[in-house]
């Protein structure tokens, strides 16, 4: 396989890829936010994007489930394939794609509904109507998100009454209730305290057995703790991508080294 970014080659060649990105360019109006990004995300691993604010890591993440489509004046070139399917194929049904690529946002955003209804929302959209089936999905998802023990006796309560960390885990439960292939996490812990953060990180390590996880974080320690692969982005470019331990211990690019040693960012 020919990769245009040599830095990415060793890491992604080793394992079966889930997401393949090839020379992806993105413009918001006239401003270019992504420049020739190529990489592949391996299956059932945690892949992290790090980089300073505004480097395009969230934009890259949102390309994977086409959430950028919602922004006015966006223009995208290049290809993204998830499980071999071209995400930007005009014939592709975006809602189908989003059912396969779940997302957890920076700010926890449960619906103003009950805890149960939050988790059951996705399955209901998919057409699950049977109450028993829904109950099963809700319990399984909440258990997977390590939230079941805390909320099992008040599933009918409003989700907005939960703490910040619980809300974020509820959002994870909601995302995995539709059993996606890929789980995108956009700085999922940035609004949480250290204890809640630790719980979510622990959860990610559990979840990677079933899902391919892509996480954006500005916390380098978090990337080091949870991810198997890390990509460093700067000004819309993927500067370096590789096995997390290697990237943090022996970065090949000078800019990566400067960033992880705290010289900027």
């Amino acid at each position: 396989m020919v990769t245009l970014n040599p830095a990415a080659a060793p890491a992604s060649m080793l394992e079966a890829p889930m997401v393949e990105i090839d020379t992806l360019n993105l413009w918001y109006g006239t401003k270019q936010a992504l420049r020739d990004v190529s990489m592949s995300v391996p299956k059932q691993r945690v892949t992290a994007y790090i980089g300073p604010s505004g480097c395009g890591k969230s934009t890259l993440l949102r390309c994977l489930n086409r959430m950028n489509d919602l922004v006015d004046g966006v223009r995208i070139e290049g290809t993204v394939r998830i499980g071999g399917v071209d995400v930007y194929d005009p014939a592709l049904d975006v809602t189908e794609l989003r059912k396969r690529v779940g997302m957890v946002f920076q700010k926890s955003n449960p619906f103003p509904k009950s805890i149960y209804e939050n988790v059951a929302y996705g399955p209901r959209i998919l057409g699950v109507k049977n109450r028993g089936d829904l109950d099963g999905i809700v319990e399984r998802s909440l258990r997977s998100a390590a939230l079941w023990d805390e909320v099992s006796d008040r599933l009918g309560d409003s989700a907005l009454g939960l703490s910040g960390g619980q809300q974020q885990r509820l959002c994870i439960a909601r995302a995995i209730a539709v059993e996606p292939d890929v789980l995108l996490m956009d700085e999922p812990c940035s609004a949480l305290d250290p204890i809640a953060t630790a719980k979510i990180e622990e959860l990610m390590l559990d979840l990677k057995n079933s899902y391919t996880i892509v996480i954006v974080t500005h916390n380098m320690q978090q990337a080091a703790r949870v991810s198997d692969y890390t990509g460093f982005m700067l000004l819309g470019e993927l500067v370096e991508f590789g096995v997390t331990r290697e990237l943090f211990t022996s970065p090949r690019d000078k800019r990566t080294e400067d960033y992880i040693t705290g010289r900027f960012g």
Binding site: L97, G102, Y121, L160
Partner: protein
């Protein structure tokens, strides 16, 4: 002190206090004037120095202009005998003041109150009882009189009313056939047979009515001041009470009875007496029909403006226009209602569906439907603005979360956005209802009348008669207060009706607020 902003705090607090004081004052005036209306006022008999006698209740006392003495305003009633309900008496001219125990107040179906002493009770011209016994006999007979009157009313309005309605329908069918060029044949014969049958039924009821009226031969003779007497048919007597001999419990009972009559009965005496039930019914029903129309329309418009329309100059202009629409004088909406709804829409409906009734309009004239539609138009900006604000308050993340789960925009709108925005919609509806319930000007020309013979909702098919004219409390206040033949006598009625209208607005609002609170608790949303 200035730096601490202390004067500013006082200023803000003062402004609020001033506003509250104004509202409290307004409500206070209404309540004090309305509450005493049904209380049986004591009757005094004053004999003036020149020998003139006036019997009545004191309603007002004031300084005689330019003099130190006072004068009182007596409600002497007996409009048919004296020509006026009220008389001013200068206090220095009063020689004697007493409170007679034998004077009674008679409420009757015509001519307002009758004050005087019951002297005789007659049955078909012959005296049955006289002196104090006459009053006792009158009291004894009163329940029967009331029952008989109720039965006559039931026959007149219920049975005969239904037959009239059927007859009118049959006549219209006949006319419809005639318009199609059918003047003979089975159809025509069937309708004619139906008409004949209805006529026969009408005649039986009319005979029964005449028979019932036979039982109304009794009358009562009342002696008023200046030796004037009045013979009053018993059938016209609604109630008899003597305030000077009533104890507190009796007065309270009387008060409660009058209050009930006020909210549950039909008006009498060109609206200055009796109840206001048709007006309450009309107001509430009009507000409800309006709500049913304005909510979906306003919500859909707001959804388009906020969720689908591309935000830009044009949408901003539309938004400003909608806001300004809320400031257009309501009478302008009324004129539009007449011109568009009644003449164009109603006229077309008549030509298409009710040609047999023309030239009598069915929908081409004012009615509760058009009045409600006009008010829906008037209040739609309120609903749009409130809904839009609610939509703007829903975080972008909530919508994104739904889209990221594979929901379409429509699913997101219906399942996430709509439930979250419902409290805001209800806020808009509360404001709209309050405005609609209090509006009068556009209603006067789109379907509200002084006295509506039938309610817009009744037992004759199709039960809901949207083409009917109706009564409205706001218009009732205007009518009783400023258009009635006896404004002075009707004044307490104005206050009572005003209080009632306020109460209804508060009740409607409370209902919507409770609903909103429940929804808020259910969704615990931060949206306004």
């Amino acid at each position: 002190m200035l730096r601490g902003g202390e004067p500013f705090i006082w200023l803000t607090g003062g402004a609020l206090a001033f506003a509250l004081l104004m509202v409290a004052g307004l409500v206070g005036i209404i309540v004090t004037n309305a509450i005493g209306f049904f209380w049986p006022a004591p009757i005094v008999r004053v004999t003036l120095a020149d020998g003139t006698v006036h019997t009545g209740s004191v309603v007002e006392r004031e300084r005689i202009p330019g003099r130190a003495e006072s004068r009182v305003k007596l409600r002497v009633a007996n409009r048919d005998l004296y020509g006026a309900d009220f008389v001013w008496v200068d206090e220095p001219a009063i020689a004697r003041r007493e409170s007679p125990a034998d004077v009674v107040v008679i409420e009757r179906t015509e001519w307002g109150l009758l004050l005087g002493v019951v002297t005789e009770l007659r049955e078909a011209g012959a005296v049955v009882a006289s002196g104090p016994g006459a009053l006792a006999e009158l009291r004894r007979r009163l329940p029967d009189v009331e029952r008989l009157r109720a039965r006559i009313r039931a026959v007149e309005r219920g049975d005969i009313g239904a037959i009239n309605f059927e007859q009118e329908k049959a006549r219209l069918t006949l006319r419809g056939l005639e318009l199609k060029g059918i003047t003979t044949g089975a159809d025509v014969d069937a309708v004619r047979a139906r008409l004949a049958e209805l006529q026969a039924r009408y005649e039986t009821h009319a005979a029964r009515l005449a028979e019932l009226r036979q039982g109304q031969g009794a009358s009562v003779v009342v002696a008023a001041d200046d030796g004037k007497t009045k013979e009053l048919p018993l059938a016209q007597v609604v109630d008899v009470f003597s305030p000077n001999t009533m104890g507190l419990p009796a007065k309270v009972g009387h008060y409660a009875g009058k209050l009930w009559e006020f909210v549950a009965d039909d008006p009498r005496e060109s609206n200055t007496e009796g109840g206001v039930f048709p007006a309450i019914f009309g107001t509430v029903m009009m507000v409800m029909i309006m709500s049913v129309m304005v909510t979906p329309l306003g919500v859909l418009a707001a959804f388009y403006l906020r969720e689908y329309a591309r935000q830009g100059t044009f949408v901003s202009a539309v938004r400003i226009a909608v806001n300004n629409l809320a400031g257009v004088p309501s009478i302008v909406f009324g004129v539009f209602g007449v011109g568009f709804f009644i003449y164009i829409v109603g006229g077309s409906i008549d030509r298409l569906f009710y040609p047999e009734a023309l030239p009598t309009p069915t929908y081409g004239t004012g009615g509760i439907l058009w009045a409600s539609l006009t008010l829906a138009l008037l209040t739609i900006p309120v609903v749009i603005v409130a809904t839009e604000e609610g939509l703007a308050a829903i975080p972008r993340g909530t919508r994104e979360a739904s889209l990221a789960l594979g929901a379409t925009k429509l699913e997101t709108t219906l399942r996430v956005v709509l439930p979250a925005v419902t409290p805001s919609i209800l806020t808009g509806l509360i404001l709209a209802m309050a405005r609609a319930a209090g509006e009068v000007a556009p209603l006067m020309i789109t379907g509200v009348v002084k006295l509506a013979p039938a309610l817009p909702l009744d037992g004759t098919w199709p039960f809901l008669h949207l083409d009917r004219k109706f009564m409205h409390l706001g218009f009732h206040i205007y009518d009783v207060g400023f258009q009635s033949p006896n404004v002075d006598a009707a004044r307490p009625m104005v206050f009572a009706t005003t209080l009632l209208l306020l109460l209804i607005v508060v009740l409607l609002n409370l209902f919507a607020i409770t609903l909103r609170q429940r929804l808020r608790r259910k969704y615990a949303t931060a949206a306004v």
